[in-house]
Symmetry: C2
Subunit: 311 residues, 2 copies
């Protein structure tokens, strides 16, 4: 049992209405790996960093025993760098800069020990890199895949090729609507499943997440958080925790996927409470279990048939 995470390692600059943090360790692989980390399993990252990637960040990644043999260190380029600024309500994010740097020259190499891992997370990257990764691994894995507006618009053919081969596409609501030219998420979901992925998760930020498997739908709200500090990486943390949870399932059917959505949402709720990804490293299994139980309490229905004349 193990998890392979292909994604970005980045240096982030994050501005919120109350905080500013520069050169924070970021990127989809960071958030996903940190989130999966609490689930205690071997995890490998496949990514690239540049010559400027701080030694301190190498040390952090090593300290949590990630397999980093698939992390390329470019001697010619800097690390992928990205900046963003959140508006007052933290729901609208403006990208302030994107320097691809080493990411432009990245060819994924999967460590041999992870050729037969249980779960693969294809973070948001060029669909060709996602395909190249899949071509190096065995068939048995459960493959969860993210993408973004840019790839939907610029590389639709390559993206559709990837979608045909993955078990679960995990995207946000805007991406789902853009991908299908729809206004309604349920219509969009049906179109996306038709494109090939065996299941679909649509993340809606503060409004929760929806799972689609064949004609089944599972919808959960977000865990109530009154002090959101920084939504950065919450979607990647969702993906990582999902992988952490699926890694232990004997059979990945509807209930296993529902549990993955629950744990994904739960860990994402911890992620947004702090700026940057570090707080995820402090999470214990007991923290996660405790919050998942509270979360269940928030969503659990009363018996409908006792008092109502409708029953």
């Amino acid at each position: 049992m193990s998890i392979l995470i292909v994604g970005t390692l980045a240096l982030d600059t994050i501005e919120t209405p109350t905080d500013k943090a520069e050169q924070v360790l970021g990127g989809s692989a960071t958030y996903s790996a940190f989130a999966a980390h609490s689930f205690a399993t071997p995890i490998a990252i496949v990514a690239v960093v540049g010559r400027d990637f701080p030694e301190q960040y190498h040390q952090i990644l090593k300290s949590i025993k990630l397999d980093l043999s698939g992390v390329e260190i470019s001697k010619e380029h800097d690390t992928f760098a990205w900046g963003c600024q959140y508006r007052d309500n933290l729901n609208i994010r403006d990208t302030t800069f994107t320097h691809l740097n080493a990411l432009q020259h990245f060819s994924p190499v999967v460590p041999e020990a992870f050729n037969n891992c249980q779960v693969i997370c294809l973070g948001n990257l060029h669909p060709q890199i996602q395909s190249d990764t899949l071509s190096q691994v065995g068939d048995a894995s459960f493959v969860a895949c993210d993408t973004m507006n840019y790839w939907i618009q610029e590389t639709p053919a390559e993206l559709i090729q990837v979608l045909k081969t993955v078990d679960c596409l995990v995207i946000n609501d805007e991406e789902a609507l853009q991908m299908t030219d729809e206004f309604n998420l349920f219509s969009a979901a049906r179109k996306i499943l038709y494109l090939g992925p065996k299941s679909l998760i649509i993340k809606k930020g503060e409004h929760g997440a929806m799972l689609f498997v064949e004609d089944q739908v599972f919808i959960i709200p977000s865990f109530p958080i009154s002090k959101v500090k920084d939504p950065t990486g919450a979607g990647d943390a969702f993906l990582g925790a999902m992988a952490g949870s699926l890694n232990y399932e004997r059979h990945i059917g509807l209930d296993a996927l529902k549990r993955a959505v629950v744990y994904g949402s739960t860990v994402a709720s911890f992620c947004v409470e702090h700026i940057g990804p570090y707080e995820l490293l402090n999470l214990t299994q007991s923290d996660i279990t405790k919050r998942a139980k509270q979360f269940n309490g928030v969503t659990e229905w009363p018996v409908l048939s006792v008092l109502s004349p409708l029953a």
Copy 2:
């Protein structure tokens, strides 16, 4: 057991990307009463209509056996008229006109038979009209109250007086944020409960609804509807179905309120499938029960403890 609904009877003009309907029977009292109607109980409307209110609409209201003795018919003014236009995604609505007409001269008179009703719905009206209604009824009732941006901004003192006396405020997410100057709905909810209402329901349209009672939170998504035709009146239908459900509860505690949110959401989901309010009159208890069960299936969690190492 009976329900009193104070609100508007209106002539609506509704434009959606695919339809246009003029002079439709509308208003908060119409949608709330039609929604409550399926729950088979005596219902009175307190409202005003004008000299132009079509005889055909009088007949519709009479045909479903509403007590209309509290509906004033103005001989000097026309009926409240309101027009709106929805944008492509049906989530953004522009008001095209508002003619208050007879509504400007409205003093509510509660029919004597409803002085001791079980549930009162104070539809979105001037807070003074809401207070005047409450001063005419007994204490035993459960009072649910709606409001809107306009009253929050223009008559805050009168609104706060009403809030101190009601059992449940039922508003949408924008209104909750505006009322409290917050960006976060959970922080907003805490502030609103502090103002006086014993409980609070925040409706989030396609994203569901949240119930707050003391320190308890209950959140449900919206029932999946892929063909939304017209969101007009969905919030009022929610309120009416809520009242219909609460009318049968022996004790209105947390579980009863949760059931009210479930039935409110379920009936609202039927409302948005058709333009105007008429389809609500075709709803049977069996339609509602059936959809509520499907809805439960969409939100029900799997057991978390069986397969996960976190338990």
